[in-house]
Symmetry: C2
Subunit: 666 residues, 2 copies
């Protein structure tokens, strides 16, 4: 008989996303803590291993699982490479350990004779020797088998518990009847920037802030230096590709544009400009420079320790080369002409949507995948994907898997401003990060509820929220109405609620002029050149610099699922914190959510969660304003003035006093 | 391109057991309510169907799913046959309904011209006509397509919403790009007795109650009649097979038996008695009669509307024919002899355990499966399985699947008195019912907690608890100490907390003589002949008859997951109820858990759950003692005397008063 039936039940494995259908996400250096229910029939003792390997490798790494309570077992491994891993559990009834226990019970219980049992033990040890692949182990196991065979029961019971023998028997255990959990769950291990990064978005054509003409790639260094000085990690460019001319939109989204207006970078494709790759998604707009200029800029950014993120916007202008070369990829009207985008009764005549289910879908999907691979070859690894929820989820699973197979360091940010389940589904199929509803969550109840869901539920296994304060499409009412304090409040929340956050440039200047009644920018640079003084008075660049410095200096703020909310008595005051598992970095954040009024509150510091007592004294050091206070116990008081200091970000250290009269901070 | 990628996301399907790994359980006539998250990219409207069929059939039954909130959808089907079903969801972007909505929005929005849109609609209707398999539909769709093509926008908008057209388009919808949930989950639909049955266990050899000799199958009718009179549905026999002679146990589990002692029916197998099938699991003990006698008894029981359950105990006495014919199926000592069962330091020399993982495991597994099939051929369909947790879980999955394929009406009751996860695993792999911890749960807190888990969690999808008050192995302390009132209390709890319950004979006589300090019967009939007067004074047969009558007359007590606990102020009073989904049968149960003292309590009747108001008056009719009370609102008072009426089982009906001064009960 070759077929093998499972001998052990292994179930309720964690972590798993949708029962193992999708990979779990981790970053390099993370631990993976695996648990499962493991049990079998009868009285045999079980041995179990956690096994893991890079996907595609043959040899497993192994570490023992330890039993907890009620048939639950746990094991931990560390994931060191930016790669896809798989893991499983192998468990079996351990005949040696079962014999060891049974022999001991019989011996203690005064059962005689124990000759047969002694011979059984010797045979088990001898069989392990036969399995052993190391000559020394082979020899030693044979010796011990002989010892057992010749021994009195009391000696057998002693030898059976020799640590040396236990180690050898564990090393060469009989796993011929073992059971493995299948199918193997996958773990995508991303690089660190997948979970910890501050993004700064700007339009390359706006780099210098001229009102009458656009900047070029070669003009972007000033903006990059500024982003670096503020402490950002990623500079993100909206689309840099040729812009269509047919039905080009004018200022403030006017249906007709005036001559000389630059067009919307999201209307991609112009095959009439002589670009080297046809004028579509694999070219840069000639008005920004050449591919060589772009490569130069990517290199300069990298030299400064930052990286570039490109926008992946799958909109085609009527002038896109695909429209000419592959009309079969687009939707048609009954008269055979190509359909433009609509959201009835609204029309978007400057953009043609792609038909992802057209009969030649595979060619289309491969071409789109090729676009990402093209920019990877130009040293881009981070992609912000525009409106992914208007393309099939299965398309993203296809594309991201293909890209990650070649570039495991690729990062995809999903601009899924859509319904919650679609947002989650995109994260499951492979998006590294996602936009969130943070942009519209401003009161205490909704922030607490939403971020508890994001960081304290199963979502942490696959979803990483990147908190944007604003985007070229969204100027939230809170920013429109709350003035400079509102910008400070939102920046602090974004920078500390998640290790991933971003601002769209102009935020640091507290720009808040909106289309009346809408959450949109008036005179948006999406449609025009925009004059700006990047050091305009009233800017909060120094404040943002402080936030990013604090993030870089405190590991607790670089983790995602360690957010905890604490009690503040005032409904306008939000109080939360983060700490590392070892508690060596503890951060508390108190935010006045009211941009107009001074708010005071008693707050409850979770001293017990820090492992301290109610009677302990500790220092809170406000890292933003460099002020220190000695606090005592859980109940403390804060005052937050939105005009000066709307936020406290405290690093907390216990005050230790010793008989030597020597104070230090632990 | 032939390969197809999913166009719709279908996830978080319910019901599923372990993500679909195991079947869900239902009984004939049940509804299956299926829910899932269903969504797709873009603005297309989705249509979705619930599909189901008997496993192995080709054609699906279909019914539309309806959207709830937040991308959740629901559909319901009814399962009418005792068979294994499979089900799935099929969903697709519905091009007609999307067009219908889009056209309406454009028309309402004043968009002109709408010629192209009109042609699109006509084309969609025409294409449906081409798909239609009914000539009349084909013709009508072609006509409507022509109508649309020639119509003004206002007419098109009207025709698009004709119910006739909507029905035709739904019937011949374009499902070429639809997505199905895979793999298809399974539903085991059992016959009614799988979920609603009262079991009565007796040893055939004890049927007449002689102290000096055993009864035979032909002597069992009296006991069967008595079980029928008490209202039981199933009579369950401990093993009826030949009993081993080697190392036969004597009275009270004595290591040596005296000549003439009958032996333990669980030490199965005696190849020295000339039985027709070798003297093992496919024979009956000669002292009980012949297989023909057994067949006669099964027939008589069936005639009376009851059925037989046999014990499937996989213990082999040293005299079992398998020991002789298949020594390779057993565990061996180093000297080659067969090992007897042990639980060190205890020894069970009269029983040899089987080695389910022996190299010839498949032959063993098939032989054991054959035992069940043999008794199915002898018109037995219900099997109580002894200690299933000492055999591999995968073995039970194998055996039960093979048996159900031929006999879908087979019922397996798992005697899994073991750890909770093993108990659940056995239910998942196919056991129809399971023993529970009820036998040891006697206070209010533990009963409430345990039965909330059994009936209000995911367990209801696969686990059906059969509540035994006692067994030949277990005489709980509560029964030992509480006298006749304790028996009445436990019988009422068992009969009303679950639609499945059982008693081991002698319970109705309030037998409670125990081995001192143990939960075991003294002078147990497992080891000896037992003299009994089946109508001994003080018996509670009439009371049990009442319980079973109430169960048969009230559908609420025949359902499993409708149990709800309500508040009683006195900690010794347990208050719970069950009602049908339509609320036409409402049962409230109040139990005094103290067998020694009278207890009084205020109780809170959940009038709001019944759809009534606090001001409503209603009648509670105690079905056990045939007493009626008029109650008002939620707060009411009960007095329970353990010596007379330790339990109320109320049927509740609303008291309606009308101006005609005519009272009736709704």
């Amino acid at each position: 008989m070759i077929a093998k039936q499972p001998t052990v039940v292994i179930e309720n494995l964690t972590p798993l996303v949708d029962g193992g259908r999708y990979p779990v996400k981790r970053v390099v250096g993370d631990d993976l803590i695996v648990e499962a229910d493991i049990f079998k029939d009868g009285h045999d003792l079980i041995s179990a291993l956690l096994k893991w390997r890079k996907h595609g490798e043959v040899a497993w790494n192994e570490t023992p699982l330890k039993p907890l309570l009620n048939d639950r077992w746990r094991g931990t491994c560390s994931l060191f490479e930016n790669a896809t891993y798989e893991y499983t559990i192998e468990a079996w009834g351990d005949s040696f350990r079962s014999w060891q226990e049974e022999f001991h019970k019989k011996y203690e219980g005064g059962v005689t004779p124990l000759e047969s049992e002694t011979l059984e033990g010797a045979a088990l040890v001898r069989a392990a020797g036969a399995r052993a692949a190391l000559a020394a182990d082979k020899k030693r196991l044979a010796e011990i088998a002989d010892l057992i065979q010749a021994a009195e029961p009391s000696q057998v019971d002693a030898i059976a518990h020799w640590p040396e023998l236990e180690a050898l028997m564990a090393a060469w255990s009989d796993r011929s009847r073992s059971t493995e959990y299948v199918p193997y769950p996958l773990v995508n291990v991303d690089r660190e920037r997948a979970r910890f990064a501050a993004w700064y978005e700007f339009f390359p054509r706006s780099a210098e802030g001229h009102a009458d003409r656009g900047s070029r790639f070669r003009d972007c260094l000033g903006r990059v230096e500024d982003a670096k000085a503020m402490g950002f990690d990623v500079v993100y460019f909206p689309p840099i590709h040729p812009i269509g001319e047919s039905n080009r939109k004018g200022r403030n989204n006017a249906v007709k544009c005036e001559p000389g207006e630059p067009g919307v970078p999201y209307a991609i494709g112009n095959r009439n400009q002589g670009c080297p790759n046809g004028g579509g998604h694999k070219d840069v707009a000639p008005e920004l420079g050449t591919l060589k200029d772009f490569d130069w800029l990517v290199g300069e950014i990298k030299k400064r320790g930052l990286e570039v993120a490109l926008d992946f916007a799958l909109n085609c202008s009527p002038d896109h080369p695909w429209v000419h070369d592959h009309p079969e990829w687009f939707f048609k009207r009954p008269d055979g002409t190509i359909k433009y985008a609509e959201n009835p009764p609204k029309k978007y005549e400057d953009v043609y949507p792609l038909d992802y289910q057209n009969p030649q879908w595979r060619e289309l999907w491969d071409e789109l995948t090729g676009v990402i691979l093209f920019w990877c070859e130009h040293n881009v690894r981070t992609f912000r994907v525009d409106n992914p929820h208007t393309k099939p989820v299965s398309f993203w699973e296809y594309l991201i898997a293909k890209v990650r197979a070649k570039y495991p360091d690729a990062i995809f940010l999903s601009e899924a401003f859509t319904r919650p389940k679609m947002m989650k589904a995109l994260a499951k199929v492979g998006f590294t990060q996602s936009y969130t509803y943070f942009t519209w969550r401003s009161n205490k109840h909704e922030l607490t509820e939403y971020f508890t869901e994001l960081t304290q539920t199963e979502m942490t296994q696959y979803f990483r929220g990147n908190l944007f304060t604003n985007t070229p499409d969204i100027l939230p009412y809170f920013l429109q109405q709350g003035g400079r304090p509102a910008f400070m409040i939102r920046a602090a929340l974004a920078a500390t609620l998640s290790p991933l956050y971003g601002i769209y440039s102009g935020f640091e200047l507290c720009e808040n002029a909106a289309v009346p009644g809408k959450e949109e920018y008036i005179d948006s640079e999406k449609y025009q050149f925009k004059g700006r003084n990047w050091n305009a008075p009233g800017n909060i660049k120094e404040y943002i610099t402080g936030l990013n410095r604090i993030r870089h200096e405190n590991r607790a703020l670089q983790e995602y699922s360690n957010l905890r909310f604490f009690r503040a008595e005032n409904e306008n005051v939000l109080f939360y914190g983060k700490m590392t598992a070892s508690r060596d970095n503890i951060i508390l954040v108190v935010v006045n959510l009211d941009p107009w009024n001074r708010q005071e509150s008693f707050i409850e510091v979770p001293v017990d969660a820090f492992g301290w007592m109610e009677s302990d004294t500790y220092q809170v050091h406000d890292l933003l304003w460099d002020q220190r206070y000695l606090w005592h116990g859980s109940r403390n008081f804060v005052v937050l003035d939105p005009q000066t200091k709307p936020v406290h970000i405290f690093r907390v250290r216990r005050w230790m006093s010793r008989e030597q009269d020597f104070d230090y901070y632990l």
